[in-house]
Subunit: 343 residues, 2 copies
């Protein structure tokens, strides 16, 4: 490990957690707002250090599904394309839609190699427990993305088993699309394995944001890819509940702002966004990996960029600057974006 | 808010989260190792900034219960005293012991004003759901501490309702003990409200660690307080399962090292420890509030101080440097203390 922790440069504080009269905790992080040509519109912290984007770049990972013609061949609609870009909450609507999609490509839940975890939606998780049932791979937040992977494998007549491996054609296509969209040499990028078993690549936030900007403003892309980018972002805007879940930050924000912002969180404090109206991409990483920090930082950046009109700002007040309550329900604190983020 | 986030000084990285070939996330923080006279043995980051200790100083908050004579009068044993210092997991053994204790002081679960949350122990939480039952205040991780508060109120013949309020004699005694043990002017300390409704005070980590050191090495304390400190730490060592819960970091460490270290985590990344053999107190705060960071940092500090012999080091390997697995069970990363912590 060449990276010495003792001298690791500190990112700025992006989010503050307040209790009583004190800032109780602070989330540092780095963030980039970039246009489709790679121009840095604004940035905080080190945006050239490689970061595992985790699930925050699922829209980029879904490009091969559409540009290959697989989505058209299997008549995938907005629901399926949104699920391909999703970290869903394992609610009934998610699970049933993924099951129907798998059936459409003559596969089933056992073909999913994403692994299993209880639904991220608390009510759905409790319903399973009450019913005495175990979660299945369908409940995994990544089951839509994986069904997209399986669909491209079916389309090209490839073996489906092993589709999560780095040398399977499915992952080679995903890696190639990522490298091209982000403008980086993907073969030279640091590697790891994601929670759902697929390869992850260390990408600078500047590159990640550029990839998202080219989704938002695909003028420089080849025809099939430009169409694929538009279809995927349109699906996210049309089915925000499929991308995240009931009450989820990304769902609530996208339900409120319509087509202005398509945003996607990832594990360990990553959050990406594509802003079609502005032609910008956003990528941020909370250094400590906290999801609460990533949400509030993304909210602050969208606010800075004028994505919220007055009505949206009102609707989203409790989402963008949540109060913290104690167990008795009394307000004891709050979370807010740091002033540096709002500009 | 006088604290400007943009210029807030950065604490050093204390814990690293690895994935593949990268440090994926980093937890910064401050920590102090202090002796009973207040001498700083070692420190990292800013240990003079006020920090809400949250549940990490429950052993200090339990002093009035014992030194008042209430513990003796109501024949409290190691189980009850350990629960007074606990953030328990709401397991059957915890809930039943708290219920028996309440009964012994002629009170019941409805007298607890700590609030309600599902058991922190996943199996216990699922068992409640399967049984179609709601959690009660007994399941709240703070129910033991609150039963201790109620016991002192009964002992002194005070009104029990409102025992969580800052001006109730129960909280006045707790604040006074805290101020005396930590050597600070508690009336001038920043205030907030804890998750369980009681007042919290902003304490420098150096002061917090000194308070814990005086628990560990009570030679300078008055007789009743010195005895109370010994009884509480002995109870924690004797009943580590009551202090935390099955599989909990503090429980596992204390089960392994016996009387060498009594450690207690708090919300938002705080962790305190009393080391009787060395006569040291430890207090640390992960700046971003992450519990995983606080655990691994505390483990690193105990390791540095030689608390673990070779056998303990072997037993605790998976606790001190946990591997991270993906959903399929494959090892994809690890968490480790930063080199700066190990010295």
């Amino acid at each position: 490990m060449s990276d010495s922790s003792a001298v690791h440069q500190s990112d700025p504080v992006l989010v503050e957690v307040l209790r009583g009269g004190l800032v109780e905790s602070r989330h540092r992080g780095a963030a980039a707002i970039v246009d489709a040509d790679g121009k840095i519109v604004a940035s905080w912290g080190d945006i050239e250090r490689p970061v595992f984007a985790r699930s925050a770049i699922k829209p980029l990972q879904a490009l091969p599904l559409v540009e290959s013609g697989a989505a058209e061949r299997y008549r995938l609609g907005a629901t399926e394309l949104a699920l391909a870009c999703a970290s869903h909450h394992g609610e009934k609507s998610h699970v049933e839609a993924v099951a129907r999609w798998l059936d459409r490509v003559d596969l089933g839940p056992d073909d999913l190699q994403c692994g299993v975890h209880p639904p991220n939606d608390a009510a759905s998780a409790q319903a399973l427990i009450r019913a005495g049932e175990q979660p299945s791979p369908l409940h995994c937040n990544c089951s839509g993305k994986h069904t997209g992977f399986l669909t491209t494998a079916r389309h090209f007549g490839e073996t489906t088993r092993g589709y999560i491996e780095p040398d399977h054609p499915v992952q080679i296509r995903v890696a190639q699309a990522l490298g091209e969209m982000c403008g980086i040499d993907i073969d030279g990028a640091p590697r790891g394995t994601d929670g759902c078993g697929i390869p992850v690549f260390g990408l600078p936030l500047a590159a990640m944001a550029r990839g998202m900007a080219r989704m938002a403003d695909p003028h420089g892309l080849a025809g099939d890819r430009a169409t694929a980018a538009r279809r995927l972002l349109d699906a996210m805007a049309e089915r925000p509940l499929m991308v995240d879940g009931t009450g989820g930050f990304a769902t609530v924000v996208m339900q409120t702002v319509g087509g202005k912002a398509r945003i996607k969180p990832g594990a360990e404090g990553v959050f990406c966004g594509a802003l079609p109206g502005l032609g910008y991409g956003v990528a941020l990483k909370i250094a400590d990996g906290a999801g609460r920090g990533a949400e509030i930082a993304m909210g602050g950046i969208l606010e800075r960029l004028g994505v919220f009109d007055e009505a949206a700002r009102g609707t989203l007040d409790a989402t963008l600057r949540p109060v913290l309550r104690n167990l008795a329900g009394t307000v004891v604190g709050a979370i807010r974006p740091a002033a540096t983020l709002l500009g």
